[in-house]
Amino acid sequence: MSIIQVKNLKKTFGTNEVLQGIDLTIAKSEVVVIMGPSGSGKSTLLRCLNFLEEPTEGTIRIGEFQVDAGGNKNRKRKKEIRELRKITGFVFQSFNLFPHKTAIENVMEGPIIIHGTKVEEARILAKALLTKVGLGDRCDYYPAQLSGGQQQRVAIARSLALNPMVMLYDEPTSALDPELVKEVLQVIKDLAREGMTMIIVTHEMNFAKDVADRVIFMDKGVIVEQGTSEEIFLNPKEDRTRQFLSIVE
């Protein structure tokens, strides 16, 4: 069974229909890269998946939690949205680490608050995750004392601490200096190898070629075409895809 299923997802800001009925099914361990020009709705799509943006229409299922659009703010629906978020890691372009907490405290926060893990257990888990992303020696640094690449790796560890079924990344390396991009992409590649299900919005073509099982090209709120990275990068069927690729490359 698929892990993520999106049906007829629409999102309108005022009169601007940013997502015009997206259908998307993602299998376990699948790595999907989403590309597309600025303003095509990539971020909005990811944010809707996590209900950081309330969809206007459609249905989203992640794991066993299915939530319909509609904005009904009752308790039961809020709880379902929270459950859905708990199994979905979200990595932001701007990291959004908690600046008043050290790296290890950032990673411990989720297990303690969300899972009710004991502090000492959470610390052991966090230490292991920071070590995994190559920051075992930076546990007690505050975000302001870390480089962008290090901050983003802490952010990934923070998401992993909740043991998510799915990871969503919105341009995880776009805010980074070029020399720091690689260390973050490497962490994501390692996760792909371990079988993590991931949706990654990125402009990094070589990375997409390496890790993507599927590349989705979006424009103006619709999925224009999708396929393996070879199909999309070497043999695009649609004009819009071709145009976009010629600009990016």
Binding site: G89, F92, N96, L97, I113, I114, A144, Q145
Partner: protein, 218 residues
Amino acid sequence: MDVTIIIDSLPSLLKATLMTILLAAISIVIALIIGFFTAIVRILKVKILNGIATTYVSIIRGTPLLVQIFVIYYGLPQIGISLDPISSGVVALSLNAGAYLSESFRASILAVDNGQMEASLSMGMTYSQALRRIILPQSLRIAIPTLSNTFIVLIKDTSLVSVITVTELLQMSSLIIAKTFEPLTIYLLAAAIYWVLITFFTTILDKLEVRSSKYLVR
């Protein structure tokens, strides 16, 4: 200037200073509570309460504290609410500082980057968990300079309740002057006590600010 006058009046003045500190301390605690909830109500735009909160802040900020004190002490008895001078003073000072504090709380909560709330929610936190664990600790740091300012103004404003016969520092000074006819000495003495008091609290609050900002240091 007579040194014996200073020595003779100092005990009474210091005792009255305790009243000043008491007024300020009780009022700041109540004001913090009022200010916090007013800010939350306004940020969450809670139905009905939001309107009340906004009106409250507007009225307090738009009228002199002295008038507020008069309304509470002399005015309210007319509709059956009689408070003794000290209670009237505390109510007036708390309501007054509460309105100003709510504004600084509100501004400091809104000043925290929206990404902080999003990151918290995306982990599955409830809104109030995010507020408590992530947003408020950061906004408190932002608020500390204005908080200390409000507190210092509050200490000074306690002198206004002397007009409703609360024997705090200023009122006591006037009482002593009525007996000694030494206004310059006694008022300067009172001023010195206010100055020491305020400098003391300023120093503490500055230390607090430095400590709470340690995570911003690279």
